[in-house]
């Protein structure tokens, strides 16, 4: 049972804290209301209920860093830049947020003007020191910082990725003069070119660091010595203590767990090490989608609250359409849905908390797709009031001259169009055909919309996880332990191939860095290069096989041409290619088996005719009476045809007609499109 060591995944969300436990008996899940004032309370409660002893390692997904940014309540942070550039963070890329708006405000920068300081120094574009760091000015700067009661410091100097001497000298001064204040050097976090993005990333790190440190320290105490790993944006976990040094790597971890969960689930359920899936994680205010072409996609072009964050993250596209998205009729008489959301308060009209504008959830309710008695197993804090929802949608329907049902269906169609567009963005727009991918819907609402969205994209297979509402916690159990590092490396590819020695020494340095963060000597190393045609300024990341040989470098070049062809529709093998950055990831692979105790033997045969029936609208004219299936009754080997409504504690699935459902060994539900006309 070595590979099936017990472990627990705990994912803290806005409303619920989700638990997934894996042991020899299989998978158990649990949901507890989140305790926002102290997230560890809900965590402790869950550990108690699930009777988890202190030998069980904990994998944790937290939004503490994300929330600090969203709510602007990070540390009082100072920024030190090269002289002449202290406004770098405020100026950004000098574009305004709205193109057609006379009156607009930009979010205030994370660091106010008064806490941006300059150091007298300059490194040139060849890495040579042009102006030595001015020591007397630095001493004054230290005095200024002391006066300001600073809690965290970011240091970003121009061209430090070529020569870090001045950032290191400042670090030494800070260690001496302000020993209790944590600092973040851009060269440690992101030694890559483009100063604004490097600055914003380093500032985010400094801004959330004290908060994350406090939170994880407290949690560690509460967990009484259990091993604690936290999820990073990249979809890999890292030891909590290491995570507190570079907490910017956690900021986009929220949706990453779900993608890792969907991907590993698909590996088992689809019986392939490289499943091709699209994930659809629909929540209350937004929907996250990702396309996995046989691997979990990674990118460094991320941002949070419009602040660039250039660290590795699972490549996820988010759109403002979710269960709480508001529907309205605009001045031109057209139905619009979102991006405004009813949020938690007042929430959808049917929550009866004073909401007046109908939401996607209200539309699902009046169409019979959500059953009030089954919503969160009947334990929801909200009693769903269908009558309130009908009234609100009727009012909207009047201005469209449409019936209640037609209006509600319209709301779903528009919301689905937004999600369809999101999935197109990650598939066709990136050179992938959605039809050769399996759609994996999860989150509370994903399965409600999956069949309709799949059809509009020509997708023929859907995989509905056994527990769609806690897939992120499941993903925590499955995630590898990883550590990433990168280094700017602006060299023509031909030069690297001819003399790989310089690259080798850079990679050796990166290797020491990434391994030092892992508590293991059995790490797998994956290297990649950011490449572009010489003169372009956008790069594509392609794998580089180790060791660095001329052949492997040439292979990376070929991979670049191919990737360019897939992504942009053309490639030019005759053009010179240059490297911009080198990336290294160390992973300790975790691939626990998911036990499948249900072989289907001895189960009572499932008979669709025995199921109770419920009325659901698929067209506006009249409802269809369709089977209502309780997910708990869908055992291994069950087969049934749509239409049907499948209800379970944490989600509801609409199976439209034309789809056949089959249950696998893990009780995942596979839907397949039966119509072979297209």
């Amino acid at each position: 049972m070595h590979r099936n060591r017990r472990r627990i995944g705990i994912d803290v969300g806005g409303t619920f804290t989700d638990f997934a436990v894996l042991d020899a008996d299989g998978l158990r899940v649990y949901k507890a209301p989140t305790t926002p004032e102290d997230q560890s309370q809900a965590i402790l409660q869950g550990l108690d209920v699930l009777e988890i002893d202190s030998s069980v390692p904990v994998m944790h997904g937290t939004t503490i860093a994300t929330n600090a940014l969203l709510e602007q309540r990070g540390a009082r942070t100072a920024l030190i830049t090269t002289r002449g550039f202290k406004d770098m963070l405020a100026i950004g890329r000098q574009n305004r947020p709205q193109l057609y708006e006379f009156s607009q405000s930009a979010a205030p920068p994370l660091i106010p003007e008064s806490l941006c300081f300059e150091a007298g120094e300059r490194i040139g574009s060849d890495g040579k020191v042009l102006t030595e760091l001015e020591v007397p000015a630095l001493r004054e700067l230290m005095q200024d910082l002391k006066k300001e009661r600073i809690e965290s410091i970011a240091v970003v100097l121009l061209f430090s990725f070529l020569n870090d001497v001045h950032e290191r000298l400042i670090a030494a001064a800070l260690e001496k003069e302000l020993p209790d204040v944590p600092f973040s050097l851009s060269v440690d976090l992101l030694p890559e070119y483009r100063e604004y993005e490097r600055t914003s990333t380093t500032v985010v790190n400094a801004y959330v660091r004290p908060l994350v440190l406090r939170y994880l320290t407290r949690l560690g105490r509460v967990l009484e010595g259990r091993s604690l790993k936290v999820m990073q944006s990249s979809g890999g976990t890292l030891d909590a203590r290491q995570a507190t040094l570079q907490p910017a790597r956690l900021v986009l971890s929220g949706p990453a767990g779900g993608v890792v969960g969907a991907f590993t689930l698909a590996k088992h359920a689809l019986k392939t090490p490289q499943p091709q899936i699209m994930t659809l994680d629909m929540g209350g205010t937004s929907t996250d989608v990702a396309l996995c072409p046989g691997r979990i996609p990674q990118t460094t072009e991320n941002s949070v609250c419009e602040i660039p964050l250039r660290l590795p993250a699972t490549q996820i596209h988010t759109v403002g359409a979710g269960g709480g998205s508001l529907a309205r009729v605009d001045a031109g008489g057209v139905l619009r849905v979102g991006p405004q959301s009813a949020g938690a308060v007042p929430g959808p009209v049917c929550y009866g908390q004073g909401g007046e504008a109908p939401t996607v959830t209200d539309a699902n309710l009046v169409l019979g797709r959500l059953l009030p008695s089954r919503f969160l197993g009947g334990q929801s804090p909200h009693v769903l009031d269908t009558e309130l929802a009908r009234r609100a949608i009727a009012k909207l329907g009047q201005s469209l001259a449409l019936s209640i049902e037609a209006t509600a269906l319209g709301i779903l169609h528009v919301a689905n169009a937004t999600m369809e567009r999101a999935l197109r963005r990650v598939s066709v727009e990136c050179g992938y055909d959605p039809r050769s991918h399996v759609l994996v819907p999860f989150g509370g609402a994903g399965p409600l919309h999956a069949c309709a969205i799949a059809r509009s994209l020509g997708v023929r297979k859907i995989l509905v996880p056994r527990h769609p509402g806690v897939l992120s916690a499941f993903g925590l159990l499955m995630a590898d332990i990883t550590s990433d590092a990168s280094q700017a490396f602006l060299v023509p590819l031909a030069e690297i191939a001819a003399a790989p020695k310089r690259l080798v020494s850079v990679i050796n340095r990166l290797e020491a860095t990434v391994l030092s963060r892992l508590d293991s000597d059995a790490a797998q190393l994956d290297c990649s290069l950011d490449l572009r045609y010489t003169g372009q300024s956008y790069e594509l990341t392609v794998p580089l096989s180790l060791p660095v040989t001329s052949e492997n470098v040439d292979a990376a070049g070929k991979a670049f041409h191919t990737a360019h062809q897939v992504r942009y529709g053309y490639s030019k093998a005759e053009l010179p290619v240059e490297s911009v950055a080198v990336r290294l990831r160390a992973s300790v692979v975790q691939s626990p088996e998911i036990p499948n105790p249900d072989t289907g033997a001895g189960n009572t045969p499932f008979n669709l005719a025995d199921a109770p029936r419920t009325s659901v609208y698929f067209t506006a004219d009249a409802p269809l009476s369709i089977p209502l299936i309780s997910r708990d009754r869908l055992h291994t080997g069950c087969v049934f045809d749509g239409p049907a409504l499948v209800v379970q504690y944490d989600s509801t699935l609409v199976v439209s007609s034309g789809w056949r459902g089959m249950v696998d060994l893990w009780q995942n539900l596979h839907l397949e499109w039966l119509d072979h006309d297209d």
Binding site: G84, F85, K86, D87, M88, A90, I91, R93, Q94, N95, R96, L99, Y100, E101, F102, S103, Q104, S105, A106, G124, S125, L158, F159, Y193, R194, E195, Y196, E197, V329, D330, A331, G332, G333, V334, L335, R336, V337, L400, L402, L409, G410, H413, V414, A417, T418, R421, R424, V428, E429, L490, Y533, G535, Q536, S537, Y538, R567, Y568, G569, Y570, K572
Partner: protein, 524 residues
């Protein structure tokens, strides 16, 4: 014809999505910093009659100018084959200024072109008398290679003669070639997406909604204009010329029911300076202001522009004809036209119109040779103060109105060009005071590491951006030359000069005007 309010919304997503996707492709594959880093491009989809259906316009100055290109292409070429691509940049035949190269290509369903896709990108150099092709010219012929509407691709095959002719006339042919390829890649994407729409939903439905969306936008714009008070409102503002004189731009805005007319009668005649514009650019500025005043998010298409009329007498600087120089009309005069229109509308809509913004794009071009002898051409525009609105301070250090391009990272340009940035900062106190303050201007100081030719096209160096309702004007911009020995010379707003290694060019951009007198200041 039945129209479904739900499908209308879905088609709006689809068409905008296609234009956006073309834009992303162009940006990702482009070579000019103007395209890849600064997003100085637009992509659009047109119907068979040349009506614009959707536009991904990162640059409002292309609003009216893209439709003009398509119209000319359709007029010039009555016959189309699959794989044809028309290219043009002639300002007096579908273009706006020479660096903006436009491509138009058909999308077939069956044997007929049903839609057209178009892209326009600001190329870093198209030849002419100074690197970067924004010279202080006196006639069009000095501004670069003039491309009338011609087919660069015929039935999918590139016309090598045309291509070689173009590339022979520019300073950085490899980069041009890369940008032209990028535009074509964007077209391929647009064509594929439209074709899959036909396949999935049928030509009839796609066309029905492409035409209904125009009607829908028109309705929304009319409804908005109807809420404006009828009347005629006039305003005048100055354009600063290199010789120290000013040129005047005048407008009379007539609001009548659901329509608005912008009449530029009384504007000065065509100039012997590169600050003239073709009428399409003047239209863009007017369209932009109207779009900003809409409370609803209206899909930008040909329908939007039907209730908006723009007239100007021929041979004026806002309606130039061949061979007037127009290099700076797009970037500078378009900003002043916007100011003039705002000044007039401020009388009709005092609660909506902001004070003047920086009113210039501060165009810097530097060209020369690197130490290894290779030629380069660098072009960049600088942000400044945005005018305060009746309810908010203006933003600082941003591009305003007709432009919204990104800056080039200092680390990117120092690795690419033989100069260094000494300072890049906000100018404290440069925004006009008022109840709401104008945004602050920027300073960007370049130190040359090798001799180079520098051309500046900038405005608001003599006349400050005005405030409104008692708000103070913003600080004027300044161009300063600091020679290696520390001697400072104030340079005019527009100049071409040979500068030497060690010289520093310090550009200070204008602040925005303030709004309302500061008596009721919030700070009390």
């Amino acid at each position: 014809m039945t129209i479904d309010p739900v499908l209308t919304e879905i088609y709006r997503h689809r068409f905008v999505g296609i234009a956006d996707e073309m834009g992303v492709t162009l940006q990702r594959t482009g070579y000019s910093p103007n395209i890849k880093e600064r997003l100085d491009y637009s992509c659009a989809v047109f119907d068979a009659e040349g009506n614009m259906i959707a536009q991904a316009a990162h640059i409002p100055v292309h609003l009216g100018a893209m439709p003009a290109s398509c119209e000319v292409a359709l007029r010039t070429f009555p016959q189309w084959r699959r794989g044809d691509v028309v290219i043009l940049n002639d300002p007096f035949d579908g273009g706006n200024h020479l660096p903006d190269i436009t491509m138009i290509s058909p999308v077939f369903a069956g044997n007929e072109p049903v839609f057209f896709v178009a892209s326009r990108a600001h190329h870093a150099d198209v030849g002419g008398m100074s690197p970067g092709s924004l010279p202080l010219s006196t006639e069009l012929f000095q501004e670069g290679v003039i491309i009338p509407p011609i087919k660069l691709y015929e039935a999918g095959k590139v016309n090598q003669s045309v291509l070689r002719m173009i590339l022979a006339n520019v300073r950085t042919p490899a980069e041009r070639q890369g940008d032209l390829d990028a535009q074509r890649a964007a077209h391929t994407v647009g064509e594929q997406r439209l074709k899959s729409l036909f396949e999935q939903h049928g030509k009839a439905e796609v066309c029905r909604y492409s035409s209904y969306l125009q009607h829908y936008s028109e309705q929304l714009v009319r409804a908005a204009i109807e809420t404006w008070p009828d009347g005629i409102y006039e305003f005048e503002d100055k354009l600063e010329l290199a010789d120290g004189l000013d040129a005047s731009i005048k407008v009379a805005v007539q609001i009548h029911g659901g329509e608005v007319t912008f009449d530029f009668k009384g504007t000065d005649r065509t100039l012997d300076a590169p600050l003239n514009t073709v009428l399409a650019v003047t239209e863009s500025a007017c369209y932009y202001v109207v779009l900003c005043l809409l409370k609803e998010d209206v899909p930008v298409n040909a329908g939007c522009f039907l209730p908006i009329h723009v007239t100007a007498p021929g041979d004026t600087l806002v309606h130039a004809s061949r061979p007037a120089p127009v290099a700076g009309g797009n970037v500078e005069t378009s900003q002043r036209i916007t100011d003039v229109v705002l000044g007039a509308l401020a009388q009709a809509l005092p609660h909506d119109i902001p004070a003047a913004s920086q009113g210039t794009m501060n165009n810097v071009t530097i060209g020369g040779k690197r130490t290894d002898g290779t030629p380069y051409a660098y072009y960049e525009t600088l942000g400044g103060g945005m005018g305060a609105s009746p309810d908010a301070d203006g933003l600082s250090g941003v591009h305003v109105h007709m432009s919204n391009t990104l800056n080039t990272p200092v680390e990117a340009l120092e690795m690419q060009f033989p100069f260094r940035i000494r300072e890049y900062a906000r100018i404290r106190g440069s925004g006009g005071k008022g109840r709401f303050c104008g945004g602050e201007g920027l300073v960007r100081e370049y130190e040359l590491l090798a001799d180079a030719t520098v051309t500046m096209l900038s405005e608001r160096r003599r006349h400050a951006p005005w405030g409104l309702q008692g708000g103070a004007p913003g600080r004027r911009g300044q161009n300063i030359l600091i020679s290696a020995d520390g001697h400072r010379t104030v340079l005019p707003g527009q100049f071409t000069r040979r500068l030497h290694a060690g010289d520093r060019l310090r550009i200070e951009t204008p602040g925005g005007g303030g709004h309302s007198s500061a008596r009721n200041s919030r700070s009390t």
